[in-house]
Amino acid sequence: MTLITILGLVLIMIGLWGMLTQKNIIKIIIGFSIMDTGVHLIMVSIGYLKDRTAPIIDSAVDQANAVNTVVDPIPSALVLTAIVIGLAVTALMLSYAIKLYEKKGTLDINEFKELKW
């Protein structure tokens, strides 16, 4: 149990709460972004090893002993990917929001009843 993992979980819960309760579409997108950040934090914290440094071989990291001095590079690579995908998805959602606002003149999610069951 680490502090960063718990903070990531808290961020996920906050984001999910925001997505479920907010009425404004922009705020829902913000909730998604917060949840995204929480997931990234958890992934990074899983790859983190105590008292170790970034996985870059330079003057601070001896190449022969690198296995015992660097953190796991794979979660870092995964998070890098996830951040870019998150950015792309957020941009796409915001452009949906722009279009919806042009159509109805409001961002209140309750005004969009077409797909309601």
Binding site: L9, V70, L80, T81, V84, A88, A91, I98, K99
Partner: protein, 229 residues
């Protein structure tokens, strides 16, 4: 009221589902076997000082190609939703302030140079194609903010994006033909470890990724800005 109860129940389910991660998770004491292999053999095999880069560009290069494809589809989606017919009746907009204009004139070339620096040094320092591309795009956002009449030539944008994307795949196939596998960087000389011209094709691949990501993000911002005018 019913809705609120539902929300509480859903949140409760999620909390219970995620709780073991916080409660029972013990931090690892050493690297996983896969990571160990990457850290041990990566520097000699691929010549890249930044091990995250060697994972992203080479060991997991195919995933990165998929990621670039996702980014491309998202950019195409934004372009599709925000496309607009050119209308003649454009009201002249108020120009931006003198501070923003002077600041942009000073900062814009520096930001571009910094973005290029980040993706060229992706195999040596923290950073790489995606980060460099985003920095370049942020410079372009500054340019669009500072002058209301600034127009980005979309043909150039599309040309840069398609060419760099095609070159990225072409380099991957070159690796398949000349070296051992798709996106293998070893068909170029590995060079001296830790210098700019090292790590085989990694700087080349990351430069193309940087240009592609930069062009795509500028396209997204450009579409959103056009939609507002």
């Amino acid at each position: 009221m019913v809705k609120k109860i539902f929300i509480v129940i859903i949140l409760g389910f999620f909390a219970v589902m995620l709780l073991p991660l916080a409660k029972d998770f013990t931090p690892f004491q050493e690297l996983s076997p896969v990571a160990e292999k990457y850290v041990e053999d990566g520097p000699e095999e691929l010549g890249s000082a930044n091990l995250v880069t060697s994972v992203i560009v080479t060991y997991r290069g195919l995933d990165t190609l998929g990621e670039v494809a996702v980014l491309f589809i998202a950019a195409a989606g934004v372009g599709f939703f925000l496309r607009k017919e050119e209308k003649g009746d454009k009201t002249p907009k108020r120009g931006s302030s003198q501070i923003l204009q002077s600041g942009t004139a000073f900062l814009f070339p520096l930001i571009l140079a910094f973005g290029v620096y980040i993706f060229l040094h992706g195999h040596l320092t923290p950073g790489g194609g995606f980060q460099g591309g985003v920095v370049i795009a942020s410079g372009m956002v500054l340019l669009l903010l500072s002058s209301a009449s600034a127009k980005i030539n979309e043909n150039v944008l599309h040309l840069v994006e398609s060419l760099s994307g095609a070159s990225y795949v072409a380099i991957g196939i070159l690796g398949l033909v000349l070296a051992t596998g798709f996106l293998d960087n070893r068909f170029l000389d590995l060079g001296e470890f830790g210098t700019l011209l090292s790590a085989g094709a990694i700087p080349l691949i990351y430069s193309f990724i940087g240009l592609k990501v930069g062009a795509e993000l500028v396209g997204i911002v450009n579409n959103m800005q056009k939609d507002q005018s």
